[in-house]
């Protein structure tokens, strides 16, 4: 599971891209540039990237309403995502999906999902398709801590165990189900114990540490590819912004977010680790930072200047044939 230099650079670049993408959206949303509801992934980057680094391009993921990070980590086109979020023609979904419905089926990205708990059943289905095709692919179902209280997730976990489907259930536990604390909403307080009770290995790890996420995922992926069935991974992570952009976060503790950014930041952790191990130099990481900022800037400019979807797009793609 040793990561080579290219993989480490890619991981850092993706994490940084997610961070800057979200930080920029936070600003643009404040300026009224973005229509609709947007849920930012900032703070959680190590989770999306650590998981997806353990996957191939052909593996499947299903995502959540907080899906930008998963999209970028699975290789979705960043300028195309930005156009989509701006509701513009040429967006990944031609402006018809928006932030909550970004998908790229060619990348195995089966969609962000506006319904909490909506994705895991889909992942079971994709895993059944992989099993029948014998192509060794796996399906990852991303969900938040909130999703662990949805019946759909229970059904999906049980069915995956019953069918020995190659699914990895990833619970991103950021401590908040929208505006409600996990300590209140998760009755037992222990998401992994629930998964384990369905009959699958369930691991907890530090979601702000890319390496912990990656290693835990590699183990689950290997088990799934070898016919060992599903696994559950619970990652403790930090959410830097509100449930949706624009809400005042009155439920956060005083100085809580600043403290998380100071002590738990996944990018800071990553830089320190690869620096201490002399795997990547600070100079190289700084170069990547500059390139990422350029990409985000050009993506925003591209989205701003892109045309609106044509009027006839309202009527297309309802059916393949009708």
């Amino acid at each position: 599971m040793q990561l080579n230099r290219d993989q480490l650079e890619r991981a850092y670049r993706q994490m940084k891209t997610i961070r800057e993408f979200e930080e920029r959206l936070h600003i643009e949303i404040g300026l009224g540039e973005i229509p609709g509801f947007t849920h930012l992934y900032a703070g959680q980057e190590a989770c999306a990237v650590g998981v997806c680094e353990a996957l191939t391009n052909e593996d499947y993921i299903v995502s959540t309403h907080r899906g930008h990070g998963h999209c970028i980590a699975k290789g979705c086109d960043v300028p195309g995502m930005m156009k989509e979020i701006y509701g513009k023609a040429g967006g990944l979904c031609d402006g018809k999906g928006g932030s909550m419905h970004i998908a790229d089926l060619n990348k195995g990205m089966l969609g962000a999902n506006g319904i909490v708990g909506g994705g895991p059943p889909l992942a079971v289905g994709a895993a059944i398709a992989a099993r029948n095709a014998g192509n060794g692919r796996v399906a990852v179902a991303f969900g938040g801590d909130g999703s662990c209280n949805q019946g759909t997730v229970f059904e999906a976990m049980n069915m995956a165990v019953v069918l020995k489907a190659p699914v990895i259930f990833v619970f991103e536990n950021n401590g908040y189900s929208e505006h409600t604390g996990v300590s209140y909403a998760v009755g037992s307080g222990d998401i992994s114990a629930r998964s384990a009770a369905f009959g699958m290995p369930a691991i907890k790890a530090d979601g702000s540490d890319f390496f912990s996420v990656y290693e835990a995922t590699c183990e689950a992926v290997e088990r799934a590819r070898n016919g060992g069935g599903p696994s559950s991974l619970e990652f403790a992570i930090c959410r830097y912004y509100g449930h949706a952009e624009g809400e005042p976060q009155r439920y956060r503790g005083k100085g809580e977010v600043a403290r998380l950014r100071e002590t738990m930041d996944c990018l800071t952790h990553f830089r320190r680790k690869v620096g201490e191990a002399q795997l990547l130099s600070p100079e190289r990481l700084d170069e990547i930072d500059v390139e990422v900022l350029e990409l985000i800037e050009s993506s925003v400019q591209g989205a701003r200047t892109a045309p609106l979807p044509p009027a006839e797009a309202l009527f297309t793609n309802v059916y393949n044939a009708y």
């Binding site: 999906g97 969609g111 059943p121 992989a130 759909t152 059904e155 393949n320």
Partner: protein
């Protein structure tokens, strides 16, 4: 061509489509039956025996029992369809759609649109509909009106064995999600069904009776009631067009409008509850697009706005029947 039951026509279609395309898979509750039991698998092949014999022929990967988990069944079908399979899943009673509606209407039906095109979701949800066997309020309902309201979903309502086989084949071979409503009171009816495979195009109604005095539009089992009434009235010199739209999404609006333009009178017979049901939908279509051709108010024959009662006498009172339909037609004709 031979005489087959509605049940056997569907079962034969499933066998032939599984034979034709390795990507067709069948799963759901008890579709094999007996998984994890001492008696062993293929105990029943579906509670109504529609999937009998499939597991023995196509094996564990293509035909399998699931836990009682309607959301996961429909969601897994949607995910599998996105990933290249053509799942045909069974939801034992459409009354259970309350448990899996999200996966139907927020997920499967919307993928192609939300994702900006390019998403094929070739999945079929087979389910049962219809009252008339004292199955009471949670095992008898007709909810195809709700599903018809979902852009992206197709809705099929075969009323006879020939249509059942041809519509199911079309559903399985298409690229969009479909709900296929089997009327459980029709499973035993028989009719001519070709042995070979064939496809009935969706959105093409079936004119089951021809006449000049009135148009009766009826769905699923109600078609048989409408036909019987048309035959009886014909003996009195009153002739009716009877239209079985066969699919409510897409809907053959043209056939309905053309017929009403000729007859000037419309009677709709529908088993859905009346509010926002198919009867008012068809009435709205005709009132808005062919009002000037109408010679009389549109008559609707539906159940009342109540749940479905258990007691046979009450259920009888609930359902449309030949007497109610005949009275409606005669009323539309000014008491003839």
């Amino acid at each position: 061509m031979s005489i087959k039951s509605y049940r056997d026509a569907i079962n034969e279609c499933l066998h032939q489509e599984m034979e034709r395309d390795v990507n067709v898979v069948v799963f759901g509750e008890d579709v094999v039956g007996g998984s994890g039991t001492e008696g062993g698998k293929e105990a029943i092949g579906g509670v109504f025996s529609l999937t009998a014999g499939l597991w023995g022929k196509y094996g564990d990967n293509r035909v399998f029992d699931t836990p009682i988990s309607e959301s996961a069944i429909v969601g897994a079908a949607a995910g599998a369809a996105l990933a290249g399979l053509r799942p045909v899943v069974e939801i034992m009673f459409s009354d259970f759609f309350g448990l899996c509606l999200d996966q139907m209407y927020n997920q499967a039906a919307k993928f192609n649109y939300m994702f900006g095109g390019g998403a094929k979701t070739p999945m079929v949800v087979r389910t049962t509909t219809g009252a008339g066997m004292s199955a009471a309020a949670q095992h008898s309902q007709s909810n195809y009106n709700w599903v018809t309201n979902i852009p992206g979903m197709k809705v099929l309502l075969p009323s006879n064995p020939y249509d059942a086989k041809g519509l199911l084949a079309a559903a399985i071979r298409g690229e969009d999600p479909v709900v296929f409503y089997e009327n459980k009171l029709l499973y035993g009816i028989k009719g001519e069904v070709p042995d070979d495979t064939y496809v009935i195009p969706l959105g093409k109604g079936n004119l089951t009776r021809q006449g000049k005095d009135a148009t009766i539009v009826a769905f699923s089992r109600m078609v048989h009631i409408a036909n019987a009434v048309a035959d009886r009235l014909a003996a009195d010199g009153i002739t009716c067009d009877v239209i079985d739209p066969r699919t409510t999404s897409p809907l053959d609006e043209e056939m309905i409008l053309e017929s009403v333009q000729e007859t000037g009178r419309l009677i709709v017979v529908d088993e859905c509850n009346p509010r926002c049901g198919l009867a008012r939908d068809i009435a709205g279509l005709v009132a808005s697009q062919a009002f000037e051709f109408l010679d009389a108010p549109i008559k609707l024959v539906t159940p009342p706005h109540t749940p479905i009662p258990f007691a046979p006498n009450l259920e009888h009172a609930y359902l449309p029947n030949e007497a109610k339909v005949e009275a409606a037609v005669r009323e539309a004709l000014g008491g003839r």
